[in-house]
């Protein structure tokens, strides 16, 4: 009798497994699962990471793999076609194109990344503060960013970079300091929504300091927004840097960046198309992948999107 009950229980347990309730996953777990199935985003992520690795290793590649410095000229071998010595040919000053592309990646990606981090940091801090405190601070910030947003970005970039000068550091500062308004708005919106939630009210009642609340309770909830914005911002900044180079206000020419390589080479398009195509292709592919990643992340974190 006991065995049949045990067996029935076992059978029931066995059956029950079929109907196991879906374990309620955490926000992150769900997102990761969603991402794992999104092949497009995964490919884009792989591409960007590969490019980033090459960019970071630029000095080593330059020294050990290709054997050229990025400014090493050879005026007797200009516009050379791809060959064994120079797998992607040489540019107008006889510099190795492949080496410069890799260094250019470090410069373009580096500047875009650092500027994006800068603008995100500023945007998050201001967003948290204004969303949390509200009141006069909020009004003032809204007025300030409405003002900043009314001026076309490129105008400001042009003016400020002409005042400050053509330095990579200045470029990072300019791009970063002018790009934080979008993030701030988003973060502020989220903070406003979260501010009145019970757990925040409770924390406050327990005497947690404002900073602690913002850092430990609110911030983790906006990380998803931050990551999405980071991906898209980097893409936008790469394009902005190339636009500034075209107008003559970007990075000094002997320092390669994809933007200024593209600008310099477009005058020689009929003569050496590889000089134009490679930087342009790299910019397009990188920005494309970043947009795809941003989209994919947005879909992953959005609970209303069914897979």
């Amino acid at each position: 009798m006991a065995t049949s009950t045990n067996a029935k229980v076992a059978q029931l347990q066995e059956d029950a497994k079929q109907f196991t309730l879906v374990k309620s996953k955490s926000h992150w777990q769900r997102a990761l699962d969603q991402l794992r199935r999104d092949y497009l985003t995964l490919i884009a992520l792989a591409v960007v990471l590969t490019l980033a690795v090459f960019a970071i290793l630029a000095p080593q590649i330059s020294q050990y793999v290709t054997g050229y410095r990025f400014d090493e000229e050879n005026l007797s071998r200009i516009f050379a076609s791809p060959s064994y010595d120079h797998p992607l040919g040489t540019d107008e000053q006889g510099r190795d194109h492949l080496t410069r592309l890799i260094w250019g990646g470090q410069v373009s990606l580096g500047i875009a990344f650092l500027a994006a981090i800068l603008s995100l940091t500023i945007g998050v801090i201001f967003g948290l503060m204004t969303g949390y405190y509200g009141g006069v601070v909020d009004d003032f910030m809204i007025w300030f960013i409405t003002t900043l947003n009314s001026i076309p970005g490129l105008f400001l970039l042009l003016i400020v970079s002409s005042v400050l000068g053509p330095d990579p550091i200045n470029l990072i500062l300019v791009l970063g300091l002018l790009g934080w308004t979008g993030t701030m708005r988003l973060v502020r919106g989220e903070t406003l929504a979260l501010r009145e939630r019970e757990f925040i009210v409770a924390a406050r009642a327990m005497g947690a300091s404002d900073a602690r609340i913002m850092a430990i309770h609110i911030f983790p909830n906006i990380i998803s927004i931050v990551i999405i914005t980071l991906a898209i911002d980097i893409g936008v900044l790469i394009l902005a840097e190339s636009g500034l180079s075209f107008l003559g206000f970007g990075i000094p020419a002997y320092i390669p960046s994809w933007g200024n390589m593209l600008t310099n080479a477009q005058a020689y398009f009929s003569r050496a198309p590889h000089l134009v195509i490679m930087p342009g292709l790299l910019i397009t592919i990188t920005v494309l992948c970043l947009y795809v990643i941003g989209d994919g992340l947005r879909d992953a974190f959005d609970p209303t999107v069914n897979s």
Partner: protein, 613 residues
């Protein structure tokens, strides 16, 4: 009779046949088509000739106003009876400081009013008053109120409508700066042409003697002009268009053939070049980096071109004085001022070392030859230049280039006290000139300086990159950047720079005298062109002698200038780089296109742009 008729008949048939085969070309005034050229530089800022200071503006008003003494496009020297020139001859008295200038009596403004000496005098008075923004006040010895200026024209007297008596030369001044006498000067005549004559009757009507109001109306155009084109139409950001002036007499064919001259504003150089190739632009100049490709393209006759060496050069200019404390070369009493030393460039050995370390022939490069590809920055479209001289000069400096010898450069630098003590591959000061004479703490400082040029000039930017890299090979650190031209000029004139790459476009007629760039007199932070702060009394003496040599015989002055050029070559206040190959190009369909060096459009009034039907 029968044979005659036959001949007549054949002749007529032949004539008719030829008329059908030979393309119909324009025959008369204003039927030569629209001549279009491109302009990368932006919009003009004025149409008034004595105010203008940029080349875009001058390219427009040059069509409408005569010169008092014009340059002959064939000899490149001042000459009487030249197209659009007023002078018919001149002579000096025995002192050499009084010139009598005779003017052509047959020319009139387009409304029929004769062009007389009064037209020149009106402009002179406007400029000399000092109430306009004209930069040409420097042509005079002093302004209307007695303020001293740097020029040679002291006074002008109207003898009659077609004769002027001009007192000119180097001024001798008393303590107050007033001119008490003049010494003759061989090149003073060039200052006369600085001021352009204007139709006095129309300018008087428009401005009276309120010269200050001229600046308020920069695009004023009188109703009568003198030149092949007139009546400018300025469309901001798009074009400046002038139409043919039918009454202009100094033409090749007896009339002005083109109907319109257009200066098209095209902001991007690549687009401008492509538009020229597509036939939308009639004539243009081809930059050095495109010349080789264009030469091949044009081989089939679809384009015409003409090449000549530029009257000017590109150079790297050093600052020999202390960049943190720019001083004028002379103080109020005319004594030499101690301007301090530049930590690096005050030492002649360093400057000479750089001349050995920089491979200029590699920069000039070579043209493609059969299977050999082009090399260098200019790809063979440039000429070496070693001193302050020009390709159109009557002085042969006879100098040889500094060899490309990095070893020799390092030797000289070591002699100058720059060695690599710590083995890091970079040179540091080890009892260099600056440490010895100014600041012993300077020992150990690296050989590092800022090199600047103007952004947008492709050749200069690339030259700067090459110099930076070549100097890096011997352990010199160069911080190179390209900044906007206005900022560059400010940096230069303020004498706070280290080294810059820039160019000189030398005027015509060519004057081998270099005191405007290499003497203490011209060393004025803020305005003078002597921004190297270089001064050499021996050099000044040579130039002074050559300029004031009685009789102004070129043969006698030749030796003096050659010696001066040799000194400059050795002392290297500039590193002379190269002089460009200018390529003037036009569509193949332009008839009578016949450029002369430096005067591609001298016969533009005869051009005929054939358009296909």
């Amino acid at each position: 009779m029968k044979r005659f008729t036959k001949i007549l008949f054949l002749g007529t048939v032949l004539a008719l046949a030829l008329a059908m085969v030979v393309p119909v070309t324009a025959q008369g005034p204003g039927e030569g088509g629209v001549v279009i050229t491109d302009n990368i530089g932006g919009d003009p800022s004025t149409f008034i000739p004595f105010i203008g200071s940029d080349t875009v503006s001058s390219s427009v008003y040059a069509w409408m106003y005569p010169s008092i003494i014009a340059i002959d496009p064939f000899t490149l020297d001042n000459a009487p009876n030249v197209a659009q020139g007023m002078a018919s001859g001149w002579e000096y008295d025995e002192t050499g400081t009084v010139m009598t200038l005779y003017l052509r009596e047959d020319i009139t403004w387009s409304d029929g009013t004769p062009i007389t000496a009064r037209d020149y005098l009106w402009a002179v008075e406007a400029v000399r008053s000092g109430q306009t923004s004209s930069p040409r006040t420097s042509a005079f010895t002093s302004l209307a109120d007695g303020t001293p200026e740097s020029g040679s024209v002291d006074s002008i007297e109207l003898i009659d409508d077609y004769t002027l008596r001009i007192n000119l030369g180097d001024p001798v001044r008393d303590e107050e700066g007033n001119v008490t006498g003049l010494t003759p000067n061989c090149i003073a005549i060039n200052d006369i042409n600085d001021v352009t004559p204007v139709p006095a009757h129309l300018y008087e009507e428009a401005f009276g003697d309120d010269y200050a109001s001229i600046d308020a109306d920069p695009f004023f155009v009188p109703t009568a002009t003198f030149g092949p084109f007139t009546d400018p139409f300025f469309e901001a950001g798009v074009q400046v268009s002038l139409i043919a002036e039918p009454s202009y007499p100094d033409t090749q064919l007896g009339y002005v053939s083109p109907s319109e001259w257009v200066l098209l504003n095209v902001p991007d150089t690549t687009v401008a070049y492509e538009r020229f190739l597509a036939g939308e632009i009639t004539y243009t100049g081809i930059s050095a980096d495109r010349q080789n490709a264009f030469r091949e393209l044009a081989a089939d006759g679809s384009y015409q071109f003409f090449e000549y060496a530029d009257n000017g050069y590109t150079y790297m200019g050093y600052n020999l004085a202390d960049p943190n404390n720019p001083q004028p070369g002379l103080d109020e009493n005319g004594d030499i001022v101690d301007q301090g030393l530049h930590p690096i460039f005050s030492d002649i050995l360093v400057r000479q070392a750089f001349a050995y370390a920089i491979d200029v022939p590699a920069m000039i490069g070579s043209r493609p030859d059969g299977d050999e590809p082009a090399t260098g920055i200019l790809e063979g479209n440039g000429f070496p230049i070693y001193t302050h001289n020009s390709n159109v000069s009557w002085v042969d400096d006879g100098l040889e280039p500094y060899a490309f010898d990095p070893e020799r450069a390092l030797e000289l630098l070591a002699e100058a006290g720059w060695v690599d003590n710590d083995g890091d591959g970079l040179l540091e000061c080890n009892d260099c000139l600056y440490a010895r004479e100014v600041d012993p703490e300077f020992n150990g400082s690296p050989l590092e300086f800022e090199l600047v040029t103007n952004a947008g000039n492709v050749i200069r930017e690339r030259t700067g990159q090459t110099i930076r890299e070549q100097l890096a090979e011997i352990g010199v650190t160069v911080n190179f950047s390209a900044i906007d031209f206005g900022a560059l000029v400010d940096l230069l004139l303020s004498q706070t720079h280290d080294a810059i790459i820039i160019g000189w476009s030398l005027g015509l007629p060519f004057d081998p005298d270099g005191s405007w760039a290499f003497s203490a007199e011209s060393d004025n932070p803020g305005s003078g062109f002597g921004f190297t702060s270089y001064n050499n009394p021996e050099l000044n003496e040579l130039w002074q002698t050559a300029t004031t040599l009685p009789g102004c015989d070129r043969g006698e002055r030749l030796g003096l200038y050659q010696e001066a050029m040799r000194i400059l070559y050795e002392e290297q206040p500039y590193m002379w780089l190269f002089s460009g190959n200018v390529m003037a190009a036009a569509q193949g369909t332009v008839e009578n296109y016949d450029p002369l060096p430096l005067f591609a459009t001298w016969n533009i009034d005869a051009w005929n742009v054939i358009s296909d039907q």
